[in-house]
């Protein structure tokens, strides 16, 4: 800022030289890049809200019968898919978040400079880049082939996807907790586990929770891991542990290629529901960060 104000008072450069023009071109280019990113986002949001809002009613979200594709959108609803998405994502979070937090605790609190901790940290990072479809195929080969399609298999696939993200974000947050906190509690005679659970984790809680919520938000919208594990059905199956299930994302994938306006309208309505779920999770994550994060970057 100091530089900018000085430019106005004492300007030693040529008034409209090529250098300055080039600088302006570059700045405009950066803003254009930002606008280029905004255009598809705005476009997709406007379309999804425009086409999805008219489909969404209470009946659409809760009716337990997904009608056949030719029927218009005011018949039945997508209740089974809503329940499936919530159940599967919820159970995946229930498995992946505790394990991920523990993994992050191991890397930062117990690993130190140990080779194993560095290897785990490195591969957790590599694992975040493994395509989500691979997780689906993996659970298919290791679980579905032996025990059949179920919501549980879908939850396993989503859990595999969330685990490395939660580990990495927990690790990043624990790194920010100052050592003086740990040392103060050790000086009081606390064991390492007690220090970690009662002092270190609470200090980093805001960041850990928001990182976990962002992982859940990403997983809730995933389709590829689910198509190989839950085998999209049309009827309600609230039993997570056996039988084929359904989810909003796989329903959209199926209906996107249907020529019927009813099926397409159901896809738009489901898309809006899915985006709303993901956005709500993200906003809650942001609020948690703003409210509870004690140590920020």
């Amino acid at each position: 800022m100091a530089i900018a104000s000085e430019q106005q008072t004492v300007d030693l450069r040529e008034p409209s030289g090529w250098r300055r023009t080039k600088n302006q071109i570059a700045t405009v280019g950066m803003w254009i890049a930002f606008v280029v990113m905004l255009v598809p986002l705005g476009f997709v949001l406007v379309t999804v809200i425009g086409k999805g809002a008219s489909a969404i009613t209470w009946q659409f979200l809760t009716n337990s019968n997904i009608p056949i594709n030719v029927l218009p959108v005011n018949y039945g609803g997508v209740g089974p898919a809503v329940i499936g998405t919530l159940e599967i994502t919820g159970f995946a979070a229930l498995m992946a978040i505790p394990l991920g937090v523990l993994g992050g605790v191991y890397i930062n609190e117990y690993g130190g400079n140990h080779v194993l901790a560095r290897i785990i940290n490195f591969f957790a990072d590599v694992m975040t880049g493994v395509p989500s479809i691979i997780m689906g195929l993996f659970i298919y080969t290791i679980w579905v082939l032996h025990f059949g399609y179920s919501g549980l298999a879908g939850a396993f696939a989503l859990g595999c996807l969330m685990l490395p993200i939660v580990i990495r974000s927990t690790y990043e947050m624990l790194r920010l907790v100052p050592d003086s906190l740990r040392e103060a509690s050790y000086a009081l005679g606390a064991t390492k586990a007690r220090v970690t659970v009662t002092v270190v984790l609470p200090a980093a809680l805001g960041g850990i929770v928001s990182g976990a919520l962002l992982a859940v938000a990403r997983a809730a919208g995933e389709t590829a891991p689910l198509i190989f594990t839950i085998l999209t059905t049309q009827s309600l199956n609230s039993n997570l542990f056996s039988g084929a299930n359904t989810a909003l994302s796989t329903l959209i994938f199926q209906n996107a290629t249907q020529p019927y306006t009813g099926a397409q309208a159901r896809a738009w309505g489901s898309a809006l529901t899915l985006i709303a779920i993901a956005f709500i999770l993200m906003i809650v994550a942001r609020l948690v960060t703003a409210r509870f994060a004690r140590y920020d970057h």
Binding site: I3, L41, V44, V130, P131, F138, T141, L145, E183, A220
Partner: protein
């Protein structure tokens, strides 16, 4: 690292090992639990490689190298050549990265060098918003809204370029379709922009302030400062970020499956229909009841896994090294 972090302050100085008897059971079991959770990452990665390779061996053994890397994909006649899909994966990822690279660099420079800190927060939120839109929603929008609209544009570009030597090989041709390599590349570009942006921003933020101030003190404009001080420092890291984006683009499934046009062809015409590895797995897995068909699809998953792991390993190594070097630690 300081001495304090190396000597674990939880262990009394005279105790020989971290798992000495004097530590209570709960304390030790917590450590074991944490270790087990950490090891889960390695176990899952190994299991992915083993179980998927096991399920796809019939494809690799019956088809052989020449069969796997052939252009002939005809499940009805037991021909499972993966080359059209490998080609499509590489082409769409390349288009995505060519488009996403300048946009991501532009946004990350905007965030680090131009916009003051308090205004950069909202921009970061918008990028996060982009990252959280599900893949299937991009696909739905791509196939029902974007592709029909692009069809006309492609057609006019192609007719305008007939006869132009180089450009018509890429943007010409006869089988022009709204769902094509290029549409898939565009959607993938949008989807990888958030990750490439946030990674390059991370790298650019490690450029020491003293370098920036030095460049300004010599009378450099902001752009000259970026070229002279920021770019040399962050070059390697940005390359790593782009590689990570490339890995994401290659593995992106559902959006590509909906907009790529689903036809296994190898052509230089970017406006014609194609296929990619993840999208063929997603689209045809349901029909793949015969042993070798299914093995071929899972085998393509193995190829995809190996490629993305290699890309991620090298990208991470590049980013880590450049961050360490620029921080001077």
């Amino acid at each position: 690292m300081s001495i304090a972090t190396r000597a674990d302050s939880a262990i009394p100085a005279e105790s020989a090992s971290p798992l000495t008897k004097r530590r209570p059971f709960g304390d030790r079991s917590f450590q074991v639990l944490a270790l087990a959770s950490g090891l889960l990452v390695l176990i899952i990665l190994v299991l992915i490689a083993v179980s998927m390779t096991q399920q796809s061996t019939t494809w690799f053994t019956t088809a052989g190298w020449s069969g796997v890397f052939s252009t002939d994909w005809d499940p009805a006649h037991n021909a499972f050549g993966a080359l059209p899909f490998i080609y499509g994966t590489l082409i769409t990822a390349a288009i995505a990265i060519i488009i996403a690279f300048p946009v991501s660099i532009g946004i990350s420079l905007l965030l680090t060098e131009v916009v003051p800190r308090r205004f950069s927060r909202p921009i970061v939120y918008v990028i996060d918003l982009l990252a959280v839109v599900p893949s299937v929603v991009w696909g739905l929008w791509g196939i029902l809204v974007l592709a029909p609209w692009l069809q006309g544009i492609y057609q006019s570009i192609a007719s305008g370029l007939t006869g132009v030597p180089v450009l018509s090989t890429f943007f010409g041709g006869t089988g022009i379709s709204g769902a094509s390599f290029f549409t898939a590349g565009l959607i993938l570009a949008v989807m990888i922009t958030p990750i490439v942006t946030s990674l390059s921003r991370e790298v650019i933020a490690t450029v020491p302030a003293i370098d920036r101030e030095g460049a300004y003190a010599l009378g450099a404009t902001r752009w000259e400062m970026i070229r002279g001080a920021v770019w040399p420092h962050s070059q390697a890291g940005v390359v790593g970020a782009v590689l990570l984006g490339l890995g994401r683009a290659m593995g992106e499934t559902i959006a590509a499956a909906l907009v790529i046009g689903s036809s296994p062809t190898i052509t230089t015409h970017l406006f014609s229909t194609g296929y990619s590895m993840p999208s063929v797995i997603a689209n045809q897995f349901g029909e793949a009841t015969v042993g070798e068909f299914r093995a071929a699809l899972i085998g393509m998953g193995v190829l995809l896994f190996v490629i993305t792991i290699i890309i991620n390993l090298s990208a991470r190594a590049i980013v880590d090294r450049s961050v360490r070097r620029t921080q001077g630690a």
